[in-house]
Symmetry: D2
Subunit: 409 residues, 4 copies
């Protein structure tokens, strides 16, 4: 008998169609905790540089799940067993891997919450969803926490060549229009295999891996660590820091209720554990809360706060200089003096306007884990050793740069 | 002597690079009135159906300007004079053609402001910018208002084959991933010409025009009037209507200051003319104001408002049925009764939950203006007559459909 | 246990990767009869207009097989049984559907062979391959000949929405760069279903079908029946006709052995049946035989032949005029007289240089078979009736045009 | 006054439209010497591995001209003078840079002609065309030979970042479907500048250059030096060598007249200088001559020749092994003995079936010339020094590999 197509299908400009293969996945996507990701941009303020980069963590999460489906199919076709339960579990794990991300994660983690990583909050959300769905996420959680016997499933979710990275490089490159970051998802996934319970790429895919590592390096410089993006992100961090400073000082600030909770109180991971309702409040928080507040703060009586907010909203960002060595104190002092005088700032206020920091680009990090190449003779080698030049080796040394920010005029 | 490239370049996933050719354009883009368009999505809530459709009016405006540059180049190459002043003017006109759009334009125009079209507000903004830039927009305004002697310049800005339409079809199709809407921008623009001061497409481009008309028709059904998009848009209209009703009734509602102005007072076009500051407040209003308020209103004490808001935020939209004839009163009454009882609604409240409306898809409208085909013999013909089938004629008859909306369960 | 990926994978700029799912398919592709398709361009001389259109029947055949794999997967997922034997059979049938094509099929069928269609030769090849592969193509042949009980399998191979058409529109559009012909293969195939043993497209895919029909229409005008393509094809027909005329007259002509067989002898379908070796000779014939001979014939002593060959090789094609009504005898006579005098031609020779013919574009032909739309209520309707405008009706009327060709100077 | 668009436009699936900006370019393209490039594939036999890679030198030449147009526009916009004559000249130079290529260049240069490079023949053709066009190519020739005062014009035609390389990487990657080779043509060209009469890339484009170098490296391994491509190319070389051996021995071989000239006589560069008609014969030679002969030679009485030809036509290529060190004599001997016995070959014949050779991949070669990065301080640096990692340095060391070929069974 025929039944009309009732499966949910998502249009994706990148992969065409994304289909949902498990009922539980459908239900998870429908849940408000996941729908919330529709309101959190994948790349924060990057759209101020690349106006197309407005895609959300929602779309990225769907993308990773789509790639996971393909990866499972490929690995099974190579003769490795992945049961249906495992397949569902690893798909849930990748779907939810970023569910703990707050708005402008970086900014948030360095300002209004204290030392809570999004991974930890993802785990809290997954535990909570597991209760709601009555244990159906047990296996997914095991995989996510690397407690499951088949380690390669964890590696599909989290490693240097996981579905997360493959999708975000492809997606960020697509929406920003930075073609240097395009990776060959098809080929990378087709070449996946498993050896000794470790993920590996078959030798024929070695050049796609090389290109993947380079693409990652270039995306860091051209997008994630683009100087104007850095400038905008640091501006948003400083805005939230200043707002928190004022809030803890008892000043009144326009706020959505969810933001108020985190602005007026000090919260760390322990707070979430002590107060189960806090996660619900966090789940209300997204890009919109932050941006709507910043828009209103443009007219706040605190000149530091209002100045910073105007700079962000009108895209009059910090001027930023980047170089390979630390900036001399002299140079910073000279700039600081000028700005301090011009804007009539206290020393505390000055720190919001002139500052130095550093960034690191580590395209391939064999200390974290390996990208294994599966040779035709059945042995595996780290990509560094398998490559026929030293270029991958060269790319496994982190590149550090220093930058200073200060107002334009 | 060599100078480094200082011109501003925008990355566009669609056209590659968009360059800025006039200093005034650069300054206009920098202005907060234009930067505001970064915070207004081109397609309102369409991303609830097509998750990639998050692109903004900012990006679209740049796109139209880019196409205008190409169009000018082509028309000049065909032997028609466009002076540098005219070129700059028509580029400004297209860049700013949508600057008056508010957030979720449709929703806004049918709820919290009274009968003000975005075109009228665009004109107000352009007049204001013209003052700020000391008359440098004079010619642009003349063209925009169709008061300039060369009528074809106006047609490049506003007609059935203007740069606006060409870019939005291409862009909306690209970001939604609905490939049925792809149009051949390159060919359409290459085939542009002018005859008797009217824009025309050379005969060789006739099939690209045919395809353009079909693409527009299909984009209406698959995107702009997609049933779930209709459902979401009507939901947002009803939310704002209800909020305005409560506000005028004196109820307290969480609001950004800009939204408060329009929620708690009745404004029409005259208000803008009477109070020059009102435009400045309007300029503060964008998607973020609306969405942040809706998020908070989920917990408002008015059950109608809070229910509608929860439906939108958690994407639990109205169920919607569409058909080619009006729905029978009986059918609507039956649904109404059920919902009324279930949700315990008054008649007034019911109108926010169950309602009928209609939509029209008019792919080609020769009553508005013509798409002219320039034949090899030098004559022009309307595309309807120039085509070799009746399919374009068939598409110039508007297609009307009716829909009803009601809550899902 | 792990095994390295040994399956054959083809790179396709359109679909990414094409995988081979059945051993017999792999063996068929390896066979010289199929490898021969590498040397037969899909679009004959179209590359003289669209220089990218050099793709072969080999690549197209792989593409149709790829789409068939997807279609099988979709139809199975809708609850219809397709056994593995049927899946293999229908994949073989589509893979080999064009195997009987000769070089420049059109030209060939109208010149050096007498009234043999490529479909008939395809069947001969398939019978031959069935012998070689010991009956393994039995089911494929049944499906191909529409003798198999499940009719919808035949429709996947041959109907107005078969995998052949979907691939060739997509592929020809891609390689020619004519974007008006792009079709949404993903959506069309995802919407496939079966009702009463007939292929149907689910209602949600109706606009993709509409766009598919338009795309087909536009590809006919812009590519398949493009005036310069017509000119080149008619030139090649005339060259082969003239060569055959000379050959039958006993003149000596440079020839590859395979071409010699068909140039110096009269062959029809019966010849193939009478002489089993003839198919082997035909299998040696491809674009290269024709083109290498034409290149040499540029210097042949017969002025008509050498002139035509020079015209083709140096791309100095016929001038061609196209219009919607038949050309008047007067007009043709005037041109004929001029050319006859100028080139000093006999009446017989003149017919190679000046001639009239007609073409037909029939975007949708409900007389042939129907494209069924499967409504949500479970009924099916022809797309003409299911559509909400008359445009599809309009497109089911064939459009006829007339053209004349004559030398340029 | 209006004139209809009469300019010739080429459709290009890669760049959209390619327009012809100079009358002389139009005439050159029309000339049979240039039209001949339509019959010479850019990548020889690569389509046996990547079935889409059928694009011709004709299309590539148009592509380089298109990029040259863009490059001229960019360099002028940076304040450097390029006169119209120079622009035309450098466009002609790039258009014709490959006009001397014969069919399967590699095969040809190593078999039937003696040590003639295609660059030398390109110059002969350009001289000849310059005569035909009465000196209009004077400036183009000066640039092509690097005799023109503005050296950077030469570098646009021939250097490590010339328009040739940018187009061929993009084009070969596109048609083969190997996305690892995609380069950002838009960005590379937008970042072009000139410093001290040398081409340079502005600092902001440094990552596009890095990606370009990697892309080139990967294209060498995955396409140009792909093991199966090497196998096919060596097979074609051996076929032509054997044919030439037989021809010089007086054996009769099926041949097109053009091929006969080169097969039966020994020609070197001096022959072309001594006999001006030889270039005309060479101009008749293209892929078709070679392939049509090979097809016929499948049935030649020389078993070596016929075996090799059958292997090529039926794509039953040599088995090939590649490694980073030279193969041991022992290993080769073992294989040789087996093959010799099995195929009953003489020692001379054996050399056509079993052989070793080496290949080199040199992604960036600073010994040849430099890719200059123009820093913001106005100085230029070689990309190796300008880069922030040693990966480019690593890539400037040539990678050498060895391979052996032998029949499969």
């Amino acid at each position: 008998m025929s039944k009309l197509n009732k499966k949910k299908i998502f249009n994706d400009p990148i992969y065409g169609f994304i289909t949902i293969n498990y009922d539980i996945i459908f239900d998870l996507i429908e849940h408000p905790y996941f729908q919330r990701l529709r309101r959190i941009k994948q790349l924060g303020l990057t759209h101020l540089v690349y106006p197309g980069a407005l895609h959300t963590r929602f779309h990225h999460a769907l993308g990773t799940m789509h790639l996971m489906d393909k990866a499972i199919e490929v690995i099974r076709s190579k003769g490795h067993t992945i049961t249906n339960e495992e397949a569902e579990g690893v798909c849930i794990a990748i779907l939810l891997h970023d569910i703990g991300h707050g708005p402008f994660s970086h900014a948030l983690e360095h300002s209004i919450v204290n030392g809570i990583s999004h991974e930890e909050i993802s785990t809290l959300f997954m535990d909570e969803l597991n209760k709601i769905f009555k244990g159906k996420l047990d296996l997914a959680l095991k995989i996510f926490r690397n407690n499951y016997k088949k380690k390669f499933l964890y590696q599909l979710v989290s490693s240097q060549l996981d579905m997360d990275r493959i999708d975000y490089l492809k997606r960020d490159s697509f929406y920003s229009g930075v073609s240097e970051g395009v990776v060959n998802t098809d080929r990378l996934i087709t070449m996946l295999n498993v050896k000794n319970d470790e993920l590996a790429i078959e030798e024929k895919g070695i050049y796609s891996v090389e290109q993947f590592i380079i693409a990652r390096r270039l995306m860091y410089w051209q997008v994630y660590l683009h100087k104007t993006v850095l400038s905008a992100e640091n501006l948003s961090v400083n805005i939230l820091k200043r707002a928190k400073e004022l809030a803890l000082n008892g000043d009144e600030l326009f706020c959505t209720p969810a933001l108020k909770e985190f602005l007026y109180k000090k919260h760390d991971l322990q707070s979430f554990k002590d107060n189960p309702k806090l996660l619900k409040v966090f789940a209300e928080l997204d890009d919109i809360d932050i941006m709507s507040s910043i828009k209103v703060w443009k007219s706040h009586s605190d000149k530091t706060l209002s100045t910073l907010c105007k700079m962000l909203i009108n895209r009059n960002l910090y001027k930023i200089k980047i170089q390979r060595k630390k900036f001399e104190k002299d140079e910073i002092n000279k700039i600081s003096e000028k700005i301090k005088t011009k804007l009539k700032l206290s020393d505390n206020e000055l720190s919001y306007f002139v500052f130095q920091d550093s960034i690191i680009n580590n395209a391939y990090n064999p200390k974290m884990d390996n990208i294994n190449i599966l040779l035709k003779n059945g042995k595996t080698l780290d990509i560094k050793e398998a490559a026929d030049t030293f270029s991958i080796s060269a790319l496994s040394t982190p590149v550090k740069k220093w930058f200073i920010c200060f107002p334009k005029h």
